[in-house]
Symmetry: C2
Subunit: 201 residues, 2 copies
Amino acid sequence: MAPQNTERRRALADAAIDLLGREGVHGLTHRNVDERAGLPSGTASNYFRSRDALLVAAMERIAGLHRADMEAGSLVTAPIGRAELVGIIGASLLYSATEQRVRYLAVYELTLEATRRPALREVLTRMHEAAVTMTVGLHRRLGLDTSPDDVANLIVLYGSTLFGLLTGPSDRLTAETAATLANAIVTGVLGPAVRVGDGVS
Amino acid sequence: MAPQNTERRRALADAAIDLLGREGVHGLTHRNVDERAGLPSGTASNYFRSRDALLVAAMERIAGLHRADMEAGSLVTAPIGRAELVGIIGASLLYSATEQRVRYLAVYELTLEATRRPALREVLTRMHEAAVTMTVGLHRRLGLDTSPDDVANLIVLYGSTLFGLLTGPSDRLTAETAATLANAIVTGVLGPAVRVGDGVS
DNA sequence: TTCCTATCACTACGATCGTTGTACGACCAT
DNA sequence: ATGGTCGTACAACGATCGTAGTGATAGGAA
């Protein structure tokens, strides 16, 4: 019988995330999760009956953490312009690639794994859709009229860029690089310079 | 003693790549490689004494294939402009994400794994440097004076974007998306097009 | 020919994998 | 207190893992 104890489930999911980010998919085993969480062996296997369930739990936990981070970060309410958007994106890139490095490495491990696991893919898709919705709302609150399509493109490009930042040489992991990339993302998606009727191509 | 038979090594490396792309790092085992290559079990273990060696071999084989593709693709010698560069990059993105999907999924599996394996990381770094050198040469031959730094940025962004394309929903895998992304990459790195009569403030 | 050496197919080993099952203990309604 | 339910700890299963080692064989040197 699968226990419900949510606190312990969370602890196990956190351990799984840590494991994924540090050791990769290949290192994610029930026993390793037990060990990393400091719980008696067999516990993870007890809560998540299959390896698939473990992966899904990790992904869902990350989704929760990501959402919390986004909500905490959306305290900026003043109307902003293009430059400030670039600033926010750049800062977020740097934060995710350094402070939350392990977490987002785990995300990309799971992203790759989702290619072959329908269960994971579904969670990932939902997470992406939620992110788009939230970000559109955020942009509105910031006084930006970015279209949902453009927001989706920004998010995809953001995610891709973060991957590059995480896996690239560590000397590239600077505020400067992040700023440059953020500018490239925004300029690339939204087109040059902010004008009334913005041009896409 | 480790056999040298280069043809068989290549066959095994190809099987490893296929396995990485289709089943992920977790699916790469000596025995699976044997099976996929249609060789008696024990062969892969014979040629590549450790799992690490297998991963490195796969990475190096991909580097070779990638280089070959690049050289084959650089037959375009006429001087080109910004639009044509975008076209080439877009076509390349689409080709890599569809025709060579498995190969490049393998690349990203290895990229993530390189985070934790010095041997792999070194191969990957060399591969990236070679790509920059080659691409700079290609740009020169095409009549473009893109700076090495910009080329490096283009490559990083290209790689990141390809990751996004490979792992995103399959309905995004179109020539149109590829073209849009290619334009975003070029515009983002090289800045907005410098055209006469363009409304750049 | 005969010997030698490199290459090969194949086997063996201990460790660890994912998963399932069972027995103990805490808790709650009665 | 008692009976029953649920969470937990732990053991055990067969399968598969990474790796090392063992003969057999084939082709050139002597």
